[in-house]
């Protein structure tokens, strides 16, 4: 089967890409602005084609724990939700991280706190990149900025999840979830029939029983496990940092933005260059691990960095940590579902340049 070109919503692209990536199961609960994922999967009914299980759970809590159970069987399983629902899932996510299980979690972010709004926001950055639930852990976080990346990051996310036996989050937002763009879909992959050696699939005589747990009552062993997790996160920082640069070669000032904000900044960048301002853009694609090294290098030769986010200023803290005082860093953001315009972003860059 050939690659296929379609016009799709970001949410639909995620659902279709999950089927094509050979996912074994999706467990979800409706919430705006991401319900199309569950709707699309129910309509596509992959149980009858690839054998993928799709289930509407009684709550986000149940859904993430279904993911836990499925992941513990070594299956390619996923869930999706939006901010308030992701908060509910945090319990399950920390157990999954603590049990070192692979899975994919999609957050199509909306404004908060609380019930907030249903419009796009990027205010879950801290929650996504710093752990989210209790205990010392990280998710590997991918931030798509187009419908194409919504599709591509499903397979990439599963691959990384299994490579590191770690939950992976696609951190998107309502704008990318709801908008339609062209998307090239990969051919259908067969679901894997491999039985993973650590998975709970029934104990044959040939191996000891497999136990999936995040519990260890012995503090010394638990600390050893914590060190093991840290080593895994360092390895991700070595191997998995992904980012994209626009016009940074001769840039004096750099926008740092991910997801929808990066798209706005691309436009703001064009406008800036048209006015003779030497601006550039760095778009982190992985938010954990963060492109710290690259930002630190760029800090040696630029006059400043402006983090643009649809939040009160969350990712900007990672920019500051990355450059470690080498250059000026500031933040511009809108909140509550408001999306800044490229002109507005440019005006803020101009006043940042003025100092």
């Amino acid at each position: 089967m050939e690659k296929e070109l379609r016009l799709m919503k970001g949410n639909e692209a995620i659902a279709e890409a999950a089927i094509r990536a050979g996912a074994d199961g999706y467990f979800g609960y409706p919430i705006t602005p991401q319900s199309e994922i569950l709707e699309y999967l129910m309509e596509a009914n992959p149980q009858t084609t690839t054998g993928m299980v799709v289930l509407q759970a009684e709550s986000e809590v149940a859904a993430i724990n279904m993911v836990y159970g499925g992941a513990a069987c070594g299956k390619k399983v996923m869930t999706s939700s939006s901010s308030p629902g992701i908060s509910l899932k945090q319990e399950g996510i920390t157990y999954i991280a603590g049990a070192e299980l692979p899975c994919l979690i999609v957050n199509v972010v909306r404004g908060g706190p609380g019930l907030g709004t249903i419009q796009p926001a990027q205010s879950d950055y801290f929650q996504a990149t710093k752990g989210g639930g209790h205990g010392d852990y990280h998710l590997l976080v991918l931030a798509p900025s187009s419908v194409q990346e919504m599709a591509d990051f499903v397979e990439l996310g599963f691959d990384l999840a299994f490579k590191y036996r770690n939950p992976v989050m696609i951190l998107s937002d309502g704008a990318i979830g709801q908008m339609m763009e062209k998307v090239w879909l990969k051919p259908q992959k067969k679901r894997s029939e491999e039985i993973l050696p650590w998975a709970t699939t029934g104990k044959p005589a040939s191996r000891p029983r497999n136990i999936i747990t995040s519990l260890d009552l012995d503090p010394e062993r638990q600390e050893k496990f914590n060190f093991k997790l840290i080593a895994k996160y360092r390895e991700m920082e070595e191997n998995e940092v992904r980012f994209e640069e626009f016009m940074t070669d001769d840039a004096e000032y750099i926008f740092v933005a991910y997801g929808t904000s990066a798209r706005l900044c691309q436009k703001a960048l064009q406008l800036a260059r048209a006015e003779g301002i030497k601006a550039g853009l760095l778009r982190p694609i992985t938010l954990f691990p963060y492109p710290k090294k690259r930002l630190n290098e760029l800090a040696d030769r630029v006059k400043g960095m402006l983090a643009v986010e649809m939040s009160a200023g969350q990712m900007v803290e990672d920019v500051m940590l990355s450059v470690n005082g080498k250059t000026r860093v500031s933040h511009y953001g809108r909140m509550g579902g408001m999306i800044p315009t490229p002109d507005e972003v440019l005006e803020n860059m101009k006043s940042f340049i003025k100092g």
Binding site: L5, L7, P33, Q119, E181, K182, L264, L269
Partner: protein, 185 residues
């Protein structure tokens, strides 16, 4: 070429689907396209709008505040978007139910009485295709054959029998559109 468009009106007027058909057609013509709806409670009845971008280049921001073309189907949307048209840009509006008409002099304003015509011809179902036809006449970026292909792609098979009616509506829309300055009343 980059054409940044907003389509706005009441929910149920086919605002989102008109945008979708434009995006499909653009895709068939090998353009880069994006379709960004307003979503949420307003989708369920109140006003609806969608940003559509058709371009020869990679599209940067899919979310816009100023537009080359605004296609306006009710008074609230006219009040909201008349000022969002770039100087030198274009505004197309349906005169039905409009009490305060567009006033800007630095843009080209077209009027299309599509609602009235659709109701006269008992073709209310494809009202938005009259409007699309008008747009295609005054901004010839999208070719009819690709719009028809786009319709085939975007409509479920069971509605394919309605495609000829859509095509008629597009043709009629092309005849119907007028410069506002040439309209009486």
């Amino acid at each position: 070429m980059t054409e940044e468009i907003v389509i706005a009106g009441f929910g149920g007027q086919g605002v989102l689907s008109m945008g979708k058909i434009m995006a499909y057609s653009g895709m068939m013509q090998d353009m880069e396209v994006s379709w960004m709806p307003s979503y949420g409670p307003e989708m369920r009845g109140g006003t609806a709008n969608v940003n559509v971008i058709l371009s020869d280049e990679r599209i940067s921001s899919p979310i816009l505040r100023s537009f080359d073309t605004a296609i306006i189907l009710n008074q609230q949307s006219l009040d909201k978007f008349e000022h969002a048209v770039k100087p030198g840009g274009m505004l197309i509006y349906d005169g039905n139910g409009i009490t305060r008409h567009p006033e800007r002099k630095d843009i080209t304003v077209y009027r299309i009485d599509a609602a009235e015509e659709a109701s006269k011809l008992k073709m209310q179902k494809v009202f938005n295709m009259f409007v699309l036809g008008g747009f295609m006449k005054v901004k010839p970026i999208l070719k009819t054959e690709y719009v028809i292909k786009g319709l085939k792609k975007s409509l479920p098979e069971r509605y394919h029998s309605l495609i000829p009616m859509n095509e008629d509506a597009i043709k009629r829309g092309m005849e119907l559109i007028r410069l506002k300055s040439e309209c009486i009343g």
